[in-house]
């Protein structure tokens, strides 16, 4: 017969009165029952009535999660049922509830009457906490880990802002509890004032959903939904929104749907997919539904499904993709569906020179409005071998062969281009007291025929090599075209050097400099002056970066021709201080610096965050078009954070070409210490400060 737990008692003195079976314990009195501990100076235990009377101040504790400080109580000997008067209950060190009366009916339910609850520090009686909930009664369900308020009023800085007859919130520390989340308020020129009231639904241990009604003062009514699901071999998410009434467009029932997922298949294959579709009814302003309601400003929604596998010696990819373009200039019908694209690479050790030989088989088919417009099947062979001489020279030999068979618009063709490369590098190092310097001169001589055998696919709408970058990351590469359709032809030399200042705990610096010298200009990289690769001898490529541990990074890369006018400059600075951090970027791109980019781009952006004090933080983002001298977009944010709340004010500005500005204000309040949001001890409000 399982022994029922018995309440035990420790005290400095006990007086025992046999006649009236009353026992008086005094001095450091502690009563233990199961996980409950009562600590006080004096108790009177009446054996016949089996009641414990606690005349003075006492603390009743259940582990660390439930602590009652009170001024008097009458409890049963199991410290369960009973009445406690003027108590202050602390739940999981986060939520404090001051109650006139605490009535413990049984182990699961505690009833608190005439209550003030808050997770904010309350310094002394008169002090008004940042927020508090006043209620006639609270029922604390310890098994269900929930608090049910009756006739609850939410005060903010002492001002009542919300009343509800019924309110139920999860116990602090409960991460997944269904219920309403804190509403979000925004107001802006596009959608007017708006409120979102999210409802979180913990469906099962491995799936949950959030349903959010979103209404705006201009009359739009939208239902947002989000669903997250973890399955045995992966997880997927779905989210979307459906406008029951959309005042910003002729049509109602605008919306969008997105989903992503990743699944581990048998023997190490992995499946990833992403779906992103949006309605495109013509809106009054030319921004789409996603932009109007602040979901995203992506103008190309990519949908793909792919299976990949990587092993020690190989890589396999098969995927299909489709992109919905919201750009006014792109009509959906001429956006190709990639159905499918296959890459299969195997890496071998070449028996003759003990070098590395990679063979990649690839194919792609592009569909345009349901009929096949282009298919390419090809192979790429890559061979590499490096020798290290006694004097420290690194000699490299490499070869690449691209062979493609392709069909498009009724015609089919073949093209192939071999490339050979000889390389010599001479890395030198010098160790000083606190850094190691490495200088590495590099010279590569590359041979390739001026024209491919057969003819390469020059069709701009189907070739995958219509854009090419020229920067320090591909200065020394054997073939700078991004895809398979075209390969770099002709005889040329990549010459340059790299420098590294390496100091594990100090300033680090990287420099790369070089250029490409060609026998003949084959105009593969567009005729404009500034791709850097257009003339016989390319522009100088330079990149300089230095960084100081995690705190500071600076990078600038440049493309400049012989008389030093710069056709490309991308610079970025990142600084992470403890109270202040910022990131800035500057871009200057001359016309055609990038294939297919006719107009000049000159832009700077800055984002900064400053912790003015433990509680106040400013954030600012700004993007400016230096070409036209006009701003593009900006965000200003002010965040107040203390131990029990986070209030976020935000202002975002969008400037469009003809100068009018969209302003959106946002107010977001989050209560910390409830549910899964722990109290923020870093910026806790300190009494008397």
């Amino acid at each position: 017969q399982e022994r029922t737990p018995v309440a035990s008692l420790i005290a400095d003195t006990i007086r025992f009165d046999g006649a009236s079976t009353r026992l008086v314990a005094r001095g450091n009195v502690e009563v233990f029952y199961d996980r409950l501990v009562l600590q006080t100076e004096e108790i009177i235990y009446d054996q016949r009535a089996n009641r414990i009377l606690v005349p003075g101040e006492f603390t009743l504790r259940e582990g660390d999660d439930f602590v009652v400080h009170a001024a008097g109580a009458e409890l049963d000997s199991k410290l369960q049922a009973g009445l406690i008067s003027t108590a202050r209950v602390v739940i999981s060190q986060q939520l404090q509830i001051a109650a006139q009366e605490v009535h413990r009916a049984d182990p699961q339910f505690t009833t608190l009457n005439r209550v003030v609850a808050s997770t904010c520090h309350v310094c002394d009686k008169g002090d008004v906490p940042f927020w508090q909930i006043r209620a006639a009664r609270v029922i604390h369900d310890t098994d269900g880990q929930r608090l049910y308020f009756e006739k609850a009023r939410l005060d903010f800085l002492g001002v009542p802002i919300f009343y509800t007859p019924r309110l139920s919130i999860p116990e602090p520390g409960v991460a997944r509890a269904s219920g309403f989340l804190v509403p979000r308020f925004t107001s802006g020129t596009t959608i007017g004032a708006s409120v979102k009231i999210p409802y979180y639904w913990a469906i099962s241990p491995h799936s949950d959903a959030t349903i959010t009604p979103f209404v705006t003062s201009k009359g739009s009514a939208i239902i947002e939904g989000e669903y997250r699901r973890r399955v045995q071999n992966g997880a997927y998410e779905m989210r979307g929104a459906l406008a029951l009434r959309d005042r910003l467009s002729q049509e109602d029932y605008n919306g969008y749907f997105q989903s992503e997922g990743r699944f581990d298949l048998r023997n190490d294959y992995q499946l990833d997919f992403a779906i992103s579709l949006s309605s495109e009814f013509d809106t009054l302003n030319e921004d789409g539904f996603l932009d109007n309601y602040g979901y995203s400003n992506d103008d190309r929604l990519t949908n793909f499904i792919q299976i990949t596998k990587t092993t020690r010696t190989g890589f396999f990819y098969v995927g299909s993709s489709f992109t919905q373009s919201l750009r006014a200039v792109e009509i959906d019908t001429d956006i190709p569906v990639v159905l499918p694209e296959i890459h299969y690479t195997q890496s071998y050790v070449d028996p003759i020179f003990n070098g590395k030989a990679n063979l990649t088989l690839h194919s792609v088919s592009l569909l345009r409005n349901l009929e096949n417009s282009y298919t390419r099947i090809g192979a790429r062979g890559d061979w590499r071998k490096e020798w290290h001489t006694g004097q420290g020279l690194v000699l490299g030999a490499a070869g690449q062969l691209n062979a493609n068979l392709y069909y498009g618009d009724g015609s089919s063709d073949f093209s192939a281009l071999p490339i050979l490369r000889a390389e010599i590098r001479y890395p030198l190092k010098k160790a000083t007291k606190n850094a190691t310097h490495v200088i590495e001169p590099i010279a590569q001589l590359i041979w390739a025929p001026d024209d491919p055998w057969g003819s390469a696919n020059q069709d701009r709408s189907t070739s995958d090599s219509t854009t090419a970058e020229f920067e320090e990351t591909n200065l020394f590469s054997i073939n700078r075209f991004p895809g398979f359709d075209e390969s770099e032809a002709g005889v040329r030399a990549n010459i340059g050097m790299r420098y590294l200042r390496y100091a594990p705990s100090g300033w680090e610096m990287n420099v790369t400099l070089g250029r490409v010298i060609r026998a003949k200009n084959l105009n593969q990289f567009d005729t404009s002056t500034s791709t850097g690769l257009d003339a016989t001898n390319s522009d100088f490529v330079g990149a300089l970066s230095f960084s100081y541990s995690d705190q500071f990074q600076f990078l600038t890369r440049m493309l400049a021709d012989d008389d030093f006018n710069v056709s490309k400059n991308e610079t970025s600075i990142v600084f992470d201080g403890d109270r202040f951090d910022f990131a800035a970027s500057y871009v200057w791109l001359d016309q055609y610096t990038v294939l297919g980019q006719p107009n000049r781009q000159h832009e700077a952006s800055l984002s900064a965050a400053y912790m003015a004090s433990d509680n106040w933080q400013w954030t600012a983002d700004w993007r400016h078009n230096l070409g036209t001298g006009t701003p593009i977009e900006g965000d200003l944010g002010l965040v107040y954070q203390n131990e029990c709340a986070e209030v976020r004010f935000s202002l975002s500005l969008q400037y469009d070409a003809d100068g009018n500005i969209e302003r959106d204000y946002g107010l977001q309040i989050a209560f910390s210490g409830l549910g899964s949001r722990n109290k923020n001890t870093k910026s806790a409000h300190r009494c008397g400060v």
Binding site: R312, I335, H388, L428, E471, R498, V587, D656
Partner: protein, 145 residues
């Protein structure tokens, strides 16, 4: 002027060639990263004395937004945190991180832009692999044998 070759007769960088096995992760970036490191450090097999593990952190941001509010150029910033494990004693002999950055344009067709994005990722991981190879070649002397 005090510079000496990194590789050479008795240099520990030469001794290290072919001695580092590199972790396999299931992604194109990982395959290309491993491929370039194998070119520089030699192919270490599963029983090689050193084992390199790594973790990519790649973020993409809008670099240029045209006035019709379309993003025309993206920048990719990459950080690779890596560790070198001495397999026999199962101790980490070297921990470091390298950073790199590249950009690609989104002005061509949707398919061409996705190929440009993929090529940008490959350039990024190749550049980080080159940086790691250079650093390993100068730090190798301090590793316990």
């Amino acid at each position: 002027c005090g510079f000496e070759p990194v590789y050479g007769e008795k240099s520990s960088a030469s001794a290290l060639l072919g001695q580092v096995d590199i972790q396999v992760q299931n992604s194109r970036n990982s395959f290309e990263f491993r491929d370039r490191l194998i070119e520089r450090l030699g192919r270490g097999d599963a029983s090689a004395p050193y084992y390199l593990t790594y973790e990519f952190g790649i973020t993409s941001d809008d670099l240029v937004i045209s006035d019709s509010d379309n993003v025309t150029r993206y920048t990719l910033s990459g950080v690779t945190r890596y560790k070198i494990l001495e397999r026999a004693s199962n101790t980490v002999v070297f921990t470091d991180k390298v950073a790199s950055n590249t950009a690609y344009s989104a002005t061509s067709g949707t398919y061409q832009t996705s190929v440009a994005e993929r090529d940008a990722h490959v350039r990024l991981v190749w550049d980080m692999a080159e940086k790691i190879a250079t650093r390993i070649s100068i730090v190798a002397p301090d590793w316990p044998k």
